[in-house]
Structures are given as structure tokens and as C-alpha cells.
């Protein structure tokens, strides 16, 4: 079984969850080697960019993975999402330059999500896809607004931008490919149960 782990902000929690579920996950030392593929037990762990996890699972090149809803939506990924996690939650926000300018252009790393958001509100605005530092676009007047993930809100404050709306609540999910679910039902159900239990155990501990 091949499982895709996101290399970004969800990395530690994702690995911890699989470990808690009894899987033999790569160690920190392993990760320090900058290798991206590890075989441990009957699982092949692959470490890919956050945005690529849904791609590997959708194409059947990974059987399962952990991905944020932001990436799942942005890729219109059809994989099953049997478990939703409590860690790593954040919000996708519509943010404007100060002074609430009229919404004419939106910079974002999520053009598909942005398009759906704007269409759903009958807002006519151009979307400017960017690769990074999205908030800068509003600061430098490339666009009037940006749509981006907000965790702490620090970036927004530093740039004196203004949050205007919540576009989506984002949470990480366990995703499982459709074909593998059907053809390897037993092993996949076992994976889901173990992850579900690990999540609930963790929840138990956190709740006083």
C-alpha cells in the first residue's frame, strides 16, 4: 500500500496520526535525508508537496493520503474522504487592501475555489493566479483583493490588510482512491478504522 504524506504544514500531525494508528512511519532522521520514498512494513510512504497529494490519489498512484480540503477542492478530487481531522484547521479568507476597495481583481493560489466563490456571489472580478506571497498582491496594488488560507492572521495584520469574508472552512482529511477502495476493500477498511480510532483516541485525550 502506498500512502502520500504532505511535506508542508500538516507533515508532523499526519505522521503522528499514522504512528498512533500503529503504522511504522519514517523517523525524523529518515526525513532529514531528503529522500522522498520509504518502505516500512507493507506500506510505501511517499512525501510530496501538499498540493500534489490529491493528484497522486486521484490517479491511483497512491492508495491513500492526507490532504487539506483546500487542495481537495482546488483539484476537484473525487477520492473518498472517510476521516476528517481536528488538527490543522484554518479558514480560506477573502482579504482586501485597506479601505475596502471595490472587488475587481483577486490574487490567489486557488483559482478554482476563487472562481466558484465569486460566481456564487455574482461578483464579476478577474482572478490572477500567483505562486506565493499572495497577500503582497493587495499591498502592491496588483489586485484589489486576495483569497488565501489564514491560520493566525499575522500576515494580514502585518500588511494592514482587511479580512472581508470566509470563503471556506478548511480541515485535513484522510483521502482514499475510489478504485482501490472497491478492489482492496478489506485492507482499506482496516486503514480507515485504525485512523478513525487513532483520531478518536487523540480526541479523548484532548478533552478534559
Amino acid at each position: 500500500m502506498r500512502i502520500a504524506i504532505p511535506k508542508g504544514r500538516l507533515l508532523d500531525k499526519a505522521l503522528a496520526t499514522f504512528a498512533a494508528a500503529g503504522y511504522d512511519v519514517p523517523s525524523e532522521a529518515d526525513l532529514a535525508t531528503r529522500k522522498l520514498v520509504f518502505n516500512r512494513g507493507d506500506v510505501e510512504w511517499i512525501f510530496v508537496k501538499d498540493c500534489d497529494v490529491p493528484v497522486y490519489v486521484e490517479h491511483g498512484a497512491a492508495d491513500a493520503g492526507i490532504a487539506g480540503l483546500d487542495q481537495i477542492l482546488e483539484h476537484d478530487c473525487t477520492a473518498y474522504q472517510p476521516v476528517e481531522f481536528d488538527f490543522g484547521r484554518c479558514k480560506m479568507m477573502l482579504i482586501s487592501a485597506p479601505g475596502a476597495p471595490s472587488l475587481t481583481k483577486v490574487a490567489t493560489k486557488y483559482p478554482r475555489i476563487a472562481r466558484q466563490y465569486l460566481d456564487g456571489r455574482a461578483i464579476r472580478a478577474d482572478i490572477v493566479p500567483l505562486g506565493g506571497s499572495v497577500e503582497l498582491a493587495a499591498v502592491l496594488n496588483l489586485t484589489s483583493h486576495v483569497i488565501d488560507l489564514v491560520e493566525t492572521g499575522e500576515t494580514v495584520r502585518v500588511h494592514k490588510l482587511e479580512i472581508q469574508d470566509v470563503v471556506a472552512e478548511i480541515s485535513p482529511r484522510l483521502i482514499v482512491g475510489r478504485a482501490v477502495y472497491r478492489t482492496e476493500t478489506k485492507r482499506i477498511r482496516d486503514l480507515i478504522s485504525r485512523i478513525e480510532e487513532a483520531k478518536n483516541a487523540n480526541l479523548q485525550i484532548q478533552l478534559p
Binding site: G60, D76, Y80, Q81, A179, K186
Partner: protein
Amino acid sequence: MANKFRYPTGVRPLLVEEAARRKRIEARFAARLESDGFDEVFLPIIDYVEPYVQLRRGAAAKQSYRFIDREGELVAIRSDFTPMVARALAPTIAEGDLPLRIFYRGDVIRVEATRLGANREMFQIGAEIIGDPTVGADVEILRLAADLARAAGATPVIVYNDVSIANALGDDARQALVSKRIARDGSLPELAVKILDGSATLNDVREFAPLAADRLDAIARGAGSECLLQLDDVDAAAAYYTGIHFRVYDADTRKRIAEGGRYDDLYARFGTSAAAIGFTFTIDESTEALNGAGAPLTTEVE
């Protein structure tokens, strides 16, 4: 146009070797179907959109090439066979002719990939039995699908279920089954939870959907060992299925190679009441990756 070699989305020529490969598979399918008493029909490559409006959800409608003809009607290039068979045959069916065994083949063309990178270029061969509502027809069709899959070089795994069960459980349970997400807060019927975690049996089902349970029981007894009943195989499938619904996978590549089921209400939409069950195989160029047997790999992400 970007360049002189390109073909429109969804089509390309098959030159000598590819054509030969395609013909070998076609011939194997046709021979088996004809020897089983199935008669071929030829369906048009274009048809009006209107007769099918209620059978296709918005997104699917947009997957086909569509255009306005000289009379102002909306026309689509064929992207799906089953409803076309019903529209073509329904007006000609006489009670006494039933049951009919029919097969068909041809290209279907989709202008949009269903999903990330999925292919849009497909050749399909399908068969159906019209006018036989019995479990015997269900079993015959399942066995035929398995044999054809083998004839194409695949190791078939056929996953089946009855669409009426999820419908009987109510919308919330159905939604949970579609998403495979279990709400463990007691809001779902216990059966749904059991179905999801794999512990449900047909006896559990019988209480909610006795007819479906009995039917599945009978099918299980008749169908081959490659057929697996999966009660959690609930999906937003084509709107017209009314009973058993199944998909054929190749065990080695895990790709789906065929889909089928029972659609006893479909013919009535086109003017003649008749039970029907059938399946469609989808063949694409990955066929060429296999020797000899030439196992067809599907083009659609499930």
C-alpha cells in the same frame, strides 16, 4: 489552430497496428455475443439532446460535444450508449418479441475529461437483455461480463450492489454511504453504519429492503466467484438504474473496464414498458500495453 498534427479533443485516427489491435478485441467480443444469441444494432453518432434531458445530470450533459443543427435543435455527439439503445428500440418492440438480446459498439466522444487527466477517447461495446425481469437475466449478464473481461485479457473483479437499498435507507444514510464518512453520533440508521464498516449481511438488509435482499441472495448463488457483493458501493451513478448495479475491474491494474446494471424504467420513458439489464465495456489505447490477450483498460476514473 496550434498545429497541423492535432485532432480535436476526444478523437484520433487508429493507424494500421492500432486498428488491428482494436479489431482483434472487437472480433472476440462480437463472436462471443453472437454465439450467445445477441443481435447487433447500429446507433447514430449524433442525436438530439432533448429526449435525454431528464436522464443526464448537468455535468454529464456538458461532457459531450453539443451544437445547434440547421433546424435550431440542440444535438450532441454520442457520449453514452444505454439511453440511445432504449430510444432506438422502444418504438419497435412488440410484446411477443421479448426478451431481446442486443449488443452494440462504437466510439463515444467526450469533450471534457470527467476528472484530472482522465481520458476522453473511448470505444465501447455493450450488451443488454430487454424484457426479462428475472434474476436469471441478472446472473446471465454478470457471467457474460466476466467472460468478456477474460476474453479481453483481464482478471475480472465484479463489484455489485442493489441501488434500491440505499434509496430505502433515506437521504442522510445514502449521503453517508456515498461519501464513506461515518457519523458515529447515532444520527444514522445502524444498518448504514454496519454497511460502512463492512459488517452488514443480507439478513441485516432484509429488514429494510426485503426484495433487494432476496434478489441479491439469488444473484450471489448464481454468479461466479469473481462477483463480490459490496453493500457500501453506493454512488451518484447514472440516474436510470433501478436494481442491481455493478462495475467490472481488472484485478491487476485496478482499472474499471465495464459498468452495468438493471434499468427497468428506462424503456417506458421512450414509449414501451420493458425490463432491461445490460453493461458497457470501455476500451481505450492502453489496450496496446498488453500482449496477445490485449486487456482493455478503462478510460474513466470511477
